[in-house]
Symmetry: none
Subunit: 224 residues, 2 copies
């Protein structure tokens, strides 16, 4: 899943980024409100972590403009201001969650996971597809009580496909969700990841269908 972190504190920024990357997110970091606003006009994210105290354009303003463009991307607001007034203002503007500094890393991660879940699967931690169950909390995929042995890339791809249910996901979209700016992979790399994951899923009756020229979609295997 692709995450945007808007934060100007240098130390916090680095720590959060490293931690999110380690958890398997594709993370982009930006440190002022104006750039964030511009970026959000054309780049979609699965979740945004937004500090309120930003240079150039406040977090409030970034959020307001994002919502006024009709985007419903989940936003978690991060701030030093503890008073209720700002909390209310943030939620009124369309924030989905709110965390005041100082906070525990684990709590932030849990809330981010919850936001992604809420947006896609109606809040439940486990999503089923065919004979598979995907657990978004520890990012593991189970078939019955067997845990599939998948690599990080494979899990990221499966997560995306399973969250998009039976919709076509283009190679470009896959590239966007698996990689942040500084990484860049070829279309062929996506094909390779698909090929490897496909092989592992087939055993469990789940198929990755190719829609030529458009992308891939997850489907239950038809037996006949």
């Amino acid at each position: 899943m692709r995450l945007l972190l808007v934060e100007d504190d240098l130390i916090l920024k680095d720590g959060l980024e490293r931690s999110f990357v380690k958890s398997g997110y594709a993370v982009d970091v930006i440190s002022d409100g104006e750039s964030a606003n511009k970026l959000l006009t054309y780049q979609e994210y699965d979740v945004i972590v937004l500090d309120l105290g930003l240079p150039k354009l406040s977090g409030f303003e970034v959020l307001k403009r994002l919502r006024s463009r009709g985007a419903n991307t989940p936003v978690l607001i991060l701030t030093a201001l503890e008073d209720t007034q700002n909390r209310v203002k943030g939620l009124d503007l369309g924030a989905d969650d709110y965390l005041t500094k100082p906070f525990e890393l684990a709590e932030l991660e849990a809330r981010v996971r919850a936001l992604i879940r809420r947006g896609v699967s109606g809040g439940s931690a486990k999503i089923g597809f065919g004979g598979l169950t995907f657990d978004t909390t520890n990012r593991q995929c189970m078939a019955g009580d067997i845990a599939l042995s998948l690599s990080a890339r494979e899990i990221a791809l499966l997560e995306l496909l399973i969250l998009k249910a039976a919709k076509v996901v283009s190679k470009t979209k896959i590239m966007e969700h698996l990689c942040s700016w500084d990484e860049e992979i070829s279309e062929n790399a996506v094909e390779v990841i698909v090929s490897r994951l496909r092989k592992k899923l087939l055993i469990f009756g789940v198929e990755i269908k190719t829609i030529r020229g458009l992308g891939y979609l997850l489907a239950k295997l038809e037996n006949n």
Copy 2:
């Protein structure tokens, strides 16, 4: 959909063209204002991407003359001039959107899509016909919750027919919409594409009628 790109910067021109072609547009490129103006007197487009800083005739002038001929083709202005004055001037002259360089490719594409949608279907991304729903955003056609498996050409043709609702569309018009100059296909090729699409649509109660000597039109199948 057919797109005209008026741009004199060599590098930008090439990049944009390649990207639009990849997205499935039929793209014509022209690099000076005078030729653009001349071309626009006889060739219709679905959307025009227009640079302001052009040799021979400015983008402003091209736009002004286009509008004075009564054409309401959506126009997106592209420019290095960032000041508000020019933005206002452009919009006053009848531009539909405005983007200042440097910009991200993805943003330009998103805005072009938005313009096409706005122009044709009143802003909604989905258009229905009979039992079919055509999603202009991700260029997919659904019958209920089944996605039709259509090739790129078939989708392009269906898009055109469905946008023109129950009006007759001539073979020449179809050729214009599916191809830019450098590609050229025969009338027979159109017949073949129609034949293939027709077969697939029949199952879903939608018929492509032939109006001999005039063209084709989309109709709901009458059962008797």
